[in-house]
Amino acid sequence: MVTAPDNDISDIKVDSVGDFTFPERNKYDSGFGITEKTVDFIADVKNDPDWIREFRHKALKVFQDKPMPTHWATKDLENIKFDEFRYYLSDGQKPKRSWDDVPDDVKKTFDRLGIPEQERKFLAGVEAQYDSEAAYSNIKAAVAEQGVIFVNSTEGLHKYPEIFRKWFGKVIPTGDNKFSALNSAVFSGGSFIYVPPGVKVKHPLQAYFRINSEQFGQFERTLIIADEGAEVMYMEGCTAPKFETATLHSAVVELVAMKGAKIQYVTVQNWSSNVFNLVTKRGIAHEDAEVRWIDCNIGSRLTMKYPGVIMKGKRARGEVISIALANSGQHQDTGAKMVHAADDTTSNVISKSISIGQGRSTYRGLVHIPKHLKGCKNNTECDALLINSNSHTDTYPAISVRGNQHSTQHEASVSQVSADQIFYLMQRGLTEAEAMSLSVNGFINDLVKEFPMEYSVELKRLIDLEMEGSVG
């Protein structure tokens, strides 16, 4: 019997990824800084309905009033100069429907990312965001036939207001935090997905997000609703080119899993190391529903991201699987929020972080199980791997469990790749960097298996790149 090893990604070639930009061509530009005028400009350009315009203005007020969360978060947030960003950019083009219509420089970008031919076929059913508007959008015929709506958020709010308005801003209220308020004021782009009752979307829906303009903040807004018994997987990949100055990325992603529905949200991101990536992601799981966040954070100057699940209905399940890799000059401040709000709900958090050079990774977790519930379960595991002696990791788990009818489990570990392990691998002919890369890939291998195949390939390529120059 011949058995091929699963997830065999050992032979992927490594190329330089993400180190390039193309000339800007933006017909619409909101200028620098954020005021009432900026918000009106965006609302005008996007032809917003009145309720959205009003929503933006209220959000701007909340954003301006809210202080930075530096009483618990890193002081580096204070270095964000809100006046130096542009908050809206668009090439003014209508979203594309077919691959042939996609501008050549966009295709070139995909080329440079080394997206394999096979994955490009996948892109046939893809929503790709280039700058703040979807440059390419094409729903696979089969998916549309099932009644699935997969459009950008602007199209969603114009064409499907009855569904959009019901859930928009309900999972993550404007005032949740300063950056969700900022997003609510200036959002553009992102996806809107609705899966009708009982429909199980076979192929993952994909979107590629990229930033291609200097000093430009990207504020996509994604809303995914899986109606009763529906199932959908959404995949998001980010690889940004390098810039000279800081770039702000602040997305809001809301997921709604109705009774018995299942949503998986997969992210692989690799921001360049000057990006502030401050993202709010949360899902609501109704009775017997499941929300899974599968998340990989590589790069950026500072990432703050704590995907959450509110388990609102009985027997709902929430899961966060996350991998974070922090290289020198980078801080991955990631974790999970699990709010149990019904009996017999189950949550699972598995987080692995890798710190290279002077990189810093932080795990911040919140698990909340109130007293009046029974039969709730949480499992939290966080493992940190330090590559160099000056690498840094810290863990802040906050688990509040009241009542005595619950079960929680928490494990944490910090380890280093041992010199003997490297010696063993090198004795078999691997260079020190290859040995380190193989060890790191091994450390996260059980989580990588949770990612779709083409993402795990990309992930390995990104890790190989990060490990180059980390040794010797």
């Binding site: 091929a4 090893p5 050992s10 691998l425 091994g442």
Partner: protein, 252 residues
């Protein structure tokens, strides 16, 4: 063509362990090194492979005429030197098959890759020789392996990498008699006129299965006696003490 060790001195900080060791292994030969605990047997294997716990203070090691002492660990491996570890390391999350592919690929010119079909064909054939279950291809390297399974896995790597010179460091330790036979069969299958072996062992038992051409006694960092297969039997019977006495007498 040979692996030549000339007047090799090596130390850990504050203590010299190898004190002028001389040894030449020609392709086709199997050399056994025996010696009491602390004589420097395992140190020799690690120094040859370039472990940075040890500092070579003088001497030379030539692999087919090329001095390998200035080469990094991985370069020595690719030059044809293999060590079957006494305590093989566990590599969590890395499958045996991926590990072997990576090691083989490291021997190819940059950009070239191994033929996956041929690789698996060869891997399975070798595993059959070692009576290893196919499930070992997807299991993490050495993780959760029994002592015997780890040693078999070392020989599997030897078989796949086909080195010019192979050092076996106490490969028999922790093996029951059945496993010892299987491992020895694997080693014997790799004996060839193009390959030299250095078999480090405490016990004569292994040498019943892997018949050495030459037996050396290592004591206090030097080879103090060299003989044929019969020397190992004599050591088994009489221990090591007499060897020192004899060599000192000869020196006197």
């Amino acid at each position: 063509m040979s692996l030549e060790i000339k007047a090799l001195h090596a130390q850990i900080p504050g203590r010299e362990i190898l004190k002028g060791l001389n040894l030449t292994i020609n392709p086709g030969e199997v050399h056994a090194i025996m010696g009491p605990n602390g004589s420097g047997k395992s140190t020799l294997s690690k120094v040859l492979c370039g472990h940075d716990d040890y500092e070579v203070t003088s001497g030379e090691v030539l692999l087919d005429g090329e001095n390998i002492l200035d080469m990094a660990v991985d370069a020595r491996s690719r030059a044809g030197l293999f060590l079957a570890f006494q305590y093989p390391h566990e590599i969590p999350g890395v499958s045996n098959a991926n590990f072997l592919r990576a090691a083989l690929k490291a021997r190819l010119p940059k950009g070239e890759d191994i033929d996956a079909v041929r690789f698996y064909k060869q891997l399975y054939a070798r595993m059959d020789q070692l009576e290893m279950d196919r499930s070992f291809t997807i299991r993490s390297v050495n993780e959760g392996f029994s002592g015997g399974e780890k040693k078999r896995n070392e020989i599997l790597q030897l078989m796949m990498l086909e080195p010019k010179y192979a050092i076996l460091d106490e490969t028999d330790s922790g093996l029951d008699i059945d496993a010892l036979k299987i491992v020895s069969r694997g080693v014997n299958a790799m004996r060839s006129e193009n390959r030299g072996f250095l078999v480090i062992t405490h016990y004569q038992r292994l040498l019943n299965y892997i018949q050495p051409d030459i037996v050396h006694v290592l004591k206090d960092g030097r080879i103090v006696k060299t003989g044929g297969k019969e020397l190992s039997l004599e050591l088994e019977e009489r221990g090591y003490d007499w060897v020192t006495d004899e060599s000192l007498a000869a020196a006197a």
